[in-house]
């Protein structure tokens, strides 16, 4: 899977840009605030249909313009695919080979990305919501059914919470109706839960292998899914989930919202049996974040048969030699990679030599050097 070209129109600080790519390794170099990350953001948007930076699509439209368009041509095996996203005041339109897709779930997954960004550390260090977002985006990338189930779950959750709230005002409770909302919620909760547990299981295998390697075989990484229903995951079938919900009707009614469910779940990360989110050193946390992100490359390859596109936003030069080598091992020659950096001095010469380098200034490409003939200055 390779991106052959990328074109932007009124996207953030870019008025108009067309780039062609012919190499596996591509580096965008430039000073701060010139538009390097924006290029990665546009690729991410084309894959996930959302930006990794903002939840407001309108922020992506260039100042004073009415719409924004991003477009890419991909080569997937022997197939050429043209993907396009238009964002305007009316919303977002996505299309594949000029055919508009009405459902986002029909669009997502056409190609996959793994983005490495400084915020990855949030997955390890910060609140559960960061980890749930990670689960939902990465599983959603490879399963449109998962996205559908998640959307359905959130719709029922909204209805259920609204109903719980309304019982506080009306002072009457229609238990048959509450049962129905609960059953519906449980049906989707169970599907999402199983998919997440399966994902964590697969990630464990890949991530531990990578983590062991980066830590010189001193550390073992283990991920554990934490369900708000029960500590014992093996006992969670549909009937049991419904039971748990029913036992908690009183709390839900009292609080006026649904206290349990996959919207309250989390996963913990253990290094040598110690919870790395709380007790890990800065270095261990970084290694963990890198390991789980790298493991996605294998996960996506296994699920979809295609390697993802790898996006490295300002992280490559932050990594030491060992971690850069590890990254390079995972990427090898097979994964098309886009890197942003302010200077190349922190990046291994081996990587530089193989890369096409694009110099970015103020929303333009001012120069390009093809891989193999770059003199390090």
């Amino acid at each position: 899977m390779d991106i052959k070209s990328l074109s932007l129109l009124n996207f953030r600080n870019y008025s108009h840009l067309d780039i062609k790519f012919s190499n596996k390794l591509n580096i965008f170099i430039g000073n701060n605030a010139q538009g390097k990350t924006t290029l990665l953001e546009s690729i991410y948007l084309l894959a996930i249909s959302k930006s990794h930076k903002t939840s407001k699509d309108k922020d992506l439209i260039k100042f004073n313009e009415s719409y924004s368009k991003v477009c890419t041509v991909l080569k997937k095996s022997d197939l050429e695919l043209k993907l396009e996203i238009i964002i305007s005041n009316q919303g977002k339109k996505v299309s594949i080979n000029n055919v508009e897709k009405k459902k986002i779930s029909e669009y997502i997954g056409t190609f996959n990305v793994v983005m490495f960004a400084p915020e990855d550390l949030d997955i390890v260090k910060r609140d559960p919501i960061n980890r749930r977002k990670f689960l939902d985006i990465e599983i959603g990338q490879t399963s449109s059914i998962y996205i559908h189930n998640l959307n359905q779950y959130n719709k029922i959750l909204k209805q259920r919470n609204e109903y719980l709230k309304s019982t506080q005002i009306n002072k009457t409770i229609d238990f048959p109706y509450l049962d129905i909302l609960t059953e519906q919620l449980a049906i989707y909760a169970e599907k999402i839960l199983n998919k997440r547990i399966e994902f964590i299981k697969k990630l464990n295998v890949y991530a531990n292998k990578i983590h062991e390697h980066i830590s010189n075989y001193h550390e073992k990484l283990y991920l554990e899914y934490i369900s708000s229903f029960s500590r014992d995951l093996s006992k969670l079938n549909l009937n049991q989930i419904i039971e748990v919900y029913k036992k908690n009707y009183n709390t839900d009614l009292l609080k006026g919202s649904t206290q349990m469910g996959i919207h309250r779940d989390d996963f913990r990360l253990f290094v040598n049996d110690i919870d790395v989110s709380i007790f890990g050193s800065q270095g261990q946390q970084r290694t963990t974040a890198l390991a789980i992100k790298l493991s996605l490359i294998d996960f996506i390859k296994d699920e979809t048969n295609f390697y993802p596109i790898v996006l490295l936003d300002d992280v490559l030069s932050e990594l030491d030699d060992l971690r850069q080598s590890q990254l390079l091992d995972c990427i090898q020659e097979k994964v098309q990679t886009f890197v942003t950096t302010t200077n190349i001095s922190g990046i291994k010469k081996e990587i530089i030599d193989k890369s096409d380098i694009f110099f970015i200034e103020n929303g333009n490409i001012i120069n390009k050097k093809e891989g193999g003939n770059f003199d390090k200055q």
Binding site: E106, S144, I145, I156, K165, S166
Partner: protein, 200 residues
């Protein structure tokens, strides 16, 4: 300068219609004021009044009608042992276009949706339960939409009817007729697989 009062009042009335924004309302009002023949305007006004004055909801099934009861409920050739429960009058009309279904209907006039302020007590359900007491009904077809709200409404009614012994069925979901598998999205295909039937 503003529009004369009669025109602005018309704009205001038109913009209360669903799908009509201020710009469309303005365009429609100006069309009526300048281009429409008086005779047409009169007919338009008359039919507006007629639908409000002469139409009512059928007290039996909730269908829109000018006679009490509605034409479906009056029709003696129809099968009274089977009732299709639909959300809106337009769903009833859609079912009737098929010309194959000869049972009765019940129109809920909505689906339960707390976020839109519609609770179980706000849909046309009591009349259905009343009907079941008096009429000899063998089967209820839940023909609400396949949205989350339509689904919970169907499940809710099914639950209420559990003890009555009346057979409750749900319309099938899945592939459109005449459609190739390759054009169906994953979710539709999944529903089709889940709802598969054995050859008998």
């Amino acid at each position: 300068m503003n529009y004369p009062e009669s025109v602005s009042k018309l704009i205001e009335s038109l913009s209360k219609l669903p799908g009509v924004g201020p710009k469309t309302a303005e365009r429609l009002a100006l069309h009526i004021a300048t281009k429409m023949k008086e005779e047409d305007a009169l007919n338009f006004a008359k039919s507006l009044l007629n639908v409000k004055r002469e139409l009512m909801k059928c007290p039996i099934c909730g269908n829109l009608t000018d006679k009490n009861p509605c034409s479906v409920c009056r029709d003696n050739t129809r099968d009274r042992s089977i009732i299709a429960v639909v959300e809106e009058v337009r769903d009833l009309i859609a079912m009737e276009k098929m010309k194959e279904y000869r049972g009765m209907y019940h129109v809920l006039n909505g689906a339960i949706s707390p976020i839109n302020g519609i609770g179980p007590q706000d849909i046309n359900l009591p009349t259905l339960l009343e009907r079941l007491k008096n009429e000899e009904v063998k089967e209820i077809i839940m023909a609400t939409n396949t949205t989350i709200e339509g689904e919970s409404t169907a499940m809710y009614i099914a639950k209420l009817l559990e003890k009555t012994g009346i057979k409750v069925t749900r319309i099938a979901r899945g592939l459109p007729v005449g459609g190739g598998l390759e054009y169906a999205d994953e979710v539709t295909l999944l529903k089709a697989i889940e709802g598969r039937r054995e050859f008998k």
